[in-house]
Amino acid sequence: MLETILFAFFALTAIFCALGVVFHKNPVHCALLLVGVLLSLSGLFILLSAQFIAALQVIVYAGAIMVLFLFVLMLLNFRQDPDVLTPGAAKGFGFLFGLLVMVELLWTALSPNGGEGGGLPAAPPLPADFGSPAAIGKILYTTWLFPFEITSILLLVAVVGAVVLAKRKFA
């Protein structure tokens, strides 16, 4: 019962903040509404017993990536767009395509066999340390070691690339 209430609260917050991100005028407000989405998703992750991922979502996504967004916004002082949405027919095509995507996703999610929507077997009993950092560490460094190492190289490339791209060239 409590879980359903919490789910409803977090889900509605996420949806309203997401709509705000897409349709709001002021870009700083959009960034803060996106932080709201991230925090609601973190709450949903805790409901799904994913404590480590929930904590990472707050620390990495809401606490670092969005702060980076805000820094760029504030330092570059973006003017607000005069019209928020793409003018003309492109707007209509955008909404139509979005509608198609939603219909397709809901079809898959709600179909009985294809999307594992309705006829799921009961969830197996969870191990005691499900979602804990120890369990993640165990499989991250054994089964998923190679993607882990590749990701570290990827992050190094990103850091070097960001510095090179954003550097001012002193003539």
Binding site: A50, L56, L68, F97, G98, A122, P127, V157, A158, L165
Partner: protein
Amino acid sequence: MNSVMPPLVAYQILAAILFTIGVVGVLVRRSALIIFMSIELMLNAVNLSFVAFSRQHGSMDGHIFVFFVMAVAAAEVAIGLAILVAIFRKKETANVDDVHLLKG
């Protein structure tokens, strides 16, 4: 407490709605930063879907996927914002319709 309560379908529908809002954001807004934020919204919707499935199957592989998605998203945001900063310095605009020098 074995069954996912509320049921898994609810999480998938929520992920679908968030993903769609992100898609609409990318297609309909003109400011490059907002398009970026909509991409992040899409990535987060996918993360939610992964974690919900992981809970349903009792396997932690979904969590690992989310971990990697977060790392890649961080890298992508850093590079994307660097590109944006470079373009903004040149052209003083963040409007994607104005960056059309390679067109036609």
